[in-house]
């Protein structure tokens, strides 16, 4: 159980395989990378697990790792955490207790079915909203103020 020195941590990837981690010379293959604070502090506190999902350690500031390691960390995080960012609210419909949001995201257009708005929409910090649909998929509005006026008005009705 250790807090790792970013300088002693190196990641590399071969042939699209899960990355290999070297910690002060010890090699670990097919490592998994997770964020300790995926919602409140995405860019820091990166944890590593071996292929048996045993915990290896945590790097507080991945920015201090070498460039390749930093890039692999970003790719792995992008791969593990699927959370499209909403760029526009197209339509909101209410149908007998459920709601259907048609939205545009950075990963394409999508329809979000919602059953419980109180549970499903959480304002993580002012203007930053996490939406979890009835299937457990998650979407994020990183900054409400940066949406267009109509989208803002539609969302403001709900939070």
């Amino acid at each position: 159980m250790s807090i790792l020195d970013p300088a002693a941590v190196h990641l590399e990837r071969r042939d699209d395989q899960p990355p290999t981690l070297s910690i002060a010379g010890d090699l670990f293959f097919n490592v998994k990378i997770r964020q300790a604070f995926p919602l409140s502090q995405e860019s820091r506190y990166i944890t590593f697990f071996d292929q048996e999902d045993e915990y290896l350690g945590i790097v507080a500031d991945p920015g201090a790792c070498d460039e390749e390691t930093g890039r692999i960390i970003r790719d792995e995080i992008e791969w593990r955490y699927f959370r499209p960012r909403i760029t526009r609210i197209v339509e909101m419909e209410g149908r007998g207790g459920t709601s259907l949001f048609s939205v545009e995201t950075d990963r394409g257009e999508v329809k979000i079915p919602m059953r419980d708005l109180r549970e499903g929409m959480v304002e993580l910090s002012p203007g930053r909203i996490l939406i979890t649909d009835e299937n457990g998929n998650r979407y994020e509005i990183p900054d409400l103020d940066r949406l267009d006026r109509r989208s803002r008005r539609l969302i403001r009705r709900l939070i």
């Binding site: 159980m1 807090i3 997770r34 964020q35 300790a36 604070f37 995926p38 919602l39 409140s40 502090q41 820091r44 506190y45 944890t47 697990f49 999902d53 915990y55 945590i58 507080a60």
Partner: protein
């Protein structure tokens, strides 16, 4: 010290006869009247206390007789013996128990106060203490009849910070009322001088225009006053809720022992809102309608005093009926409130314990029980609505009687040319307007009880005594060394029914003491006293030589860590829960605490890591996970004294090992009091304090106590086979 009860004059003469020469009634310190005679009849008895004597008198057949006169110096002890449906006061004198008097629960509180004062006079060892006990600040009784007047007074104090806005809103309301008086008068001129004799026929468009303007101005003014009062009312409801929420955090734990969460929730959700209704719907209506009634009465008398008198005939009957209806309906509103509170409690319980319900397959029974409460709410609500819907039309009928009288008498006046048609029309218009506010005012008769009941209950909570956070003779102890001392500690949840008796213990900084005993032995109570959730009845608890009652409560508790048997987590993220006792903690510190609590690994495996919501009461985590998050929370809190209530539930070996490791790290260098269940904790403790029925029976190390083969040995035998433990140890 004031007299607790007024002493009957006959008794005042009788008491000195039982006292030795030189002491008289003037030396009387206090007295308390009770409600049972020594033989169990419902009759009065009286406990009176002078500086040196205690006198008990009882009444039989209307006459008072002295039954006991005791010198305070001779009394070795006083106890209240709980009986069934009553209690008895017993004095110890020369090794004998003297039953002084009996009383029912109705006067139990008065007697508890009196016995407290008496014990203060007698002193702990029977030595007489003549310093007068300090009278506690009386808690306002919000349930009494005078309470409603006080409630009105309190409502004003809520309004005071916003008085300017209220005055403006009221002035605008008054303006709306004044404008209301204009149209019937204009109508009179219109009928008599424009339509009938046509002397002012060219004025028709002007008068109609004036009528239109008065309508428009009235609408505008009504909108302005309505909006102003709405904002003001919402602000007042917000203020009331804020005050309630603040007080709820500061109330002592014993308040919550007596209250159910559902009832308190009802107060926050429903009752605080009543202050809004009072200022939005009730007060402006009373002012506006009241002014209309006064204004129109004046106009009616100005137009025709004889007709005006006819209008007023039903008014006394209306007022009489309204007052009686209010008193009558008050009971039903009280019942309705109670049934809602029980309903909330029941539903709250059933939902919080849904797992238990399902595992015992009791869904149907729970549902049936909740339906029963639902039916009670239905009955209570129906009782109110049926009655109020019956009385309102009856009141309306009463007020319409005046209208018929005016029509009859006014018609006769017009027929005999003693009155113009226009004046009769204006009179009838005023009449319609006059009875509308009177009806509205009487309609408010059934608002008042509902509102007053709710508002009174809100004030009941707000005025409950809160914990004393900063004592007068405060001693500043910014950082404890951790030396604990319990000196002859006595305590009972109910006065004079001790749960802990004569606890003495000295703990050095960094020492770990295990508390052992059957359930109900007093272990948890001792822990609650350490946290100062309750104050000791006798003796003292000292930390680094200072009585905990002289410490700032926040300072004391911020240096005590508490890990409960089944830790309570709040419905935030894992990180929020770990930083609960130290909001300034950085993420690095949170992670470090979690690592030390063996929690980090399972946390980072959660999809949202430290940002994972733990659910209500931490329900989304397993028992072992909750334990470790709670340990991390305690580590980050960094207390000097640790209080630990070990979980009794069996966990898998791996989790158990991790928790033990975590606890070991947590206890390092801290004074620890632990309710121990696990053998490893018992063995690791520096000393063990064995409690039995609230009394300390053994103190020593695990080995010493096993060798002694006393209570501890028996307890260990009960849990497991003692020989195998010794074998493990060997």
């Amino acid at each position: 010290m004031p007299l607790i009860n007024k002493i009957p004059s006959e008794l005042t003469r009788l008491i000195p006869s039982g006292l030795p020469a030189g002491e008289d009634h003037g030396d009387l310190l206090f007295a308390c009247k009770t409600d049972l005679a020594p033989d169990g009849r419902i009759d009065e008895s009286m406990l009176a206390v002078t500086r040196r004597h205690l006198v008990v008198a009882t009444r039989s057949g209307g006459a008072w007789t002295l039954t006991h006169t005791l010198s305070l110096a001779a009394i070795n002890g006083l106890t209240v013996e709980p009986l069934v449906g009553a209690s008895a006061l017993v004095a110890e004198v020369d090794g004998k128990s003297i039953r002084l008097l009996r009383y029912t629960h109705a006067v139990a509180q008065d007697m508890t106060d009196a016995v407290e004062s008496l014990l203060h006079l007698i002193g702990p060892d029977g030595s007489t203490d003549h310093t007068e006990p300090v009278a506690e600040e009386p808690v306002p009784d919000w349930s009494s009849r005078e309470a409603h007047l006080r409630t009105f007074g309190r409502l004003w104090t809520f309004c005071l910070p916003h008085w300017r806005k209220l005055v403006i809103a009221m002035v605008v309301t008054v303006a709306a009322s004044a404008i209301d008086l204009l149209p019937p008068y204009l109508t009179m001129i219109l009928v008599d001088q424009v339509l009938v004799d046509q002397s002012m026929y060219i004025w028709l468009p002007s008068i109609v225009a004036l009528l239109a303007v008065s309508r428009i101005v009235h609408t505008g003014v009504t909108i302005i006053s309505g909006r102003m009062l709405a904002v003001l009312g919402d602000r007042l409801a917000y203020d009331a809720r804020s005050e309630l929420l603040n007080v709820l955090q500061l109330l002592p734990l014993k308040y919550y022992d007596m209250q159910q969460t559902g009832g308190l929730m009802a107060r926050i959700a429903r009752d605080a809102k009543s202050i809004h209704y009072f200022w939005i719907d009730f007060a402006p209506q009373v002012v506006q309608q009241g002014l209309l009634v006064i204004g129109m009465t004046a106009v009616l008398f100005y137009l025709n005093w004889e007709l005006a008198l006819l209008v007023l005939i039903p008014i006394p009957a209306i007022i009489f009926a309204s007052v009686h209806i209010k008193r009558y309906l008050m009971w039903f509103y009280g019942r309705s409130w109670d049934s809602w509170a029980t309903f909330f409690e029941r539903v709250n319980d059933a939902l919080a314990g849904i797992r238990v319900v399902k595992i015992f397959a009791q869904e149907k029974r729970q549902s049936r029980d909740m339906q029963l409460e639902n039916e009670k709410v239905f009955t209570a609500e129906r009782n109110i609505h049926v009655r109020s819907r019956t009385v309102r039309p009856l009141l309306a009928f009463l007020v319409s009687v005046g209208g018929l009288l005016v029509l009859l008498y006014g018609g006769l006046l017009v027929q005999s040319n003693a009155m113009t048609v226009g004046m009769l029309v204006a009179f009838l218009l005023y009449l319609a307007m006059f009875y509308s506010p009177v009806q509205q005012l009487t309609g408010m008769a059934d608002w008042i009880p509902e509102m007053m009941t709710a508002i009174t209950r809100t004030f009941e909570v707000i005025d409950s005594p809160i914990e004393e956070y900063t004592p007068a003779d405060i001693v500043d102890v910014p950082r404890f060394e951790g030396r604990l001392e319990l000196q002859d500690v006595n305590f009972g949840y109910v006065a004079h029914q001790p749960v802990l008796k004569g606890i003495n213990l000295h703990v050095e900084p960094g020492e770990m003491i295990g508390l052992v005993g059957h359930s109900g032995a007093g272990k948890s109570t001792l822990i609650k006293l350490m946290c100062r959730f309750y104050d000791v009845d006798g003796g003292r608890i000292l930390i680094d030589g200072t009585d905990v009652r002289r410490m700032d409560l926040t300072q004391l508790r911020s240096q005590i860590g508490y890990v409960e048997q089944d830790p309570f987590l709040f419905a935030g993220s894992v990180a929020d829960n770990i930083r609960f006792g130290n909001q300034e903690a950085s993420r690095e510190e949170i992670i470090e605490a979690a690592i030390n609590a063996n929690a980090h690994e399972f946390i980072v495996k959660l999809p949202d890591g430290y940002d994972t919501p733990v659910g209500e009461r931490g329900g989304r985590l397993s028992g072992g996970e909750r334990q470790r998050v709670a340990i991390a929370r305690a580590i980050l809190h960094d207390p000097r004294i640790l209080i630990l209530d070990e979980p009794t539930s069996a966990l898998d070996l791996e989790t158990e090992k991790k928790i033990q490791e975590a606890l070991g790290r947590l206890m390092e260098g801290r004074t620890t009091l632990a309710i121990a269940h696990r053998l490893s904790t018992l063995r690791d403790a520096d000393r063990l304090l064995v409690l039995k029925n609230g009394e300390p029976v053994e103190l020593g190390t695990h080995e010493e106590l096993l060798d002694r083969q006393g209570e501890y040995y028996r307890l260990v035998q009960l849990h497991t086979n003692v020989s195998s433990i010794v074998g493990v140890e060997g």
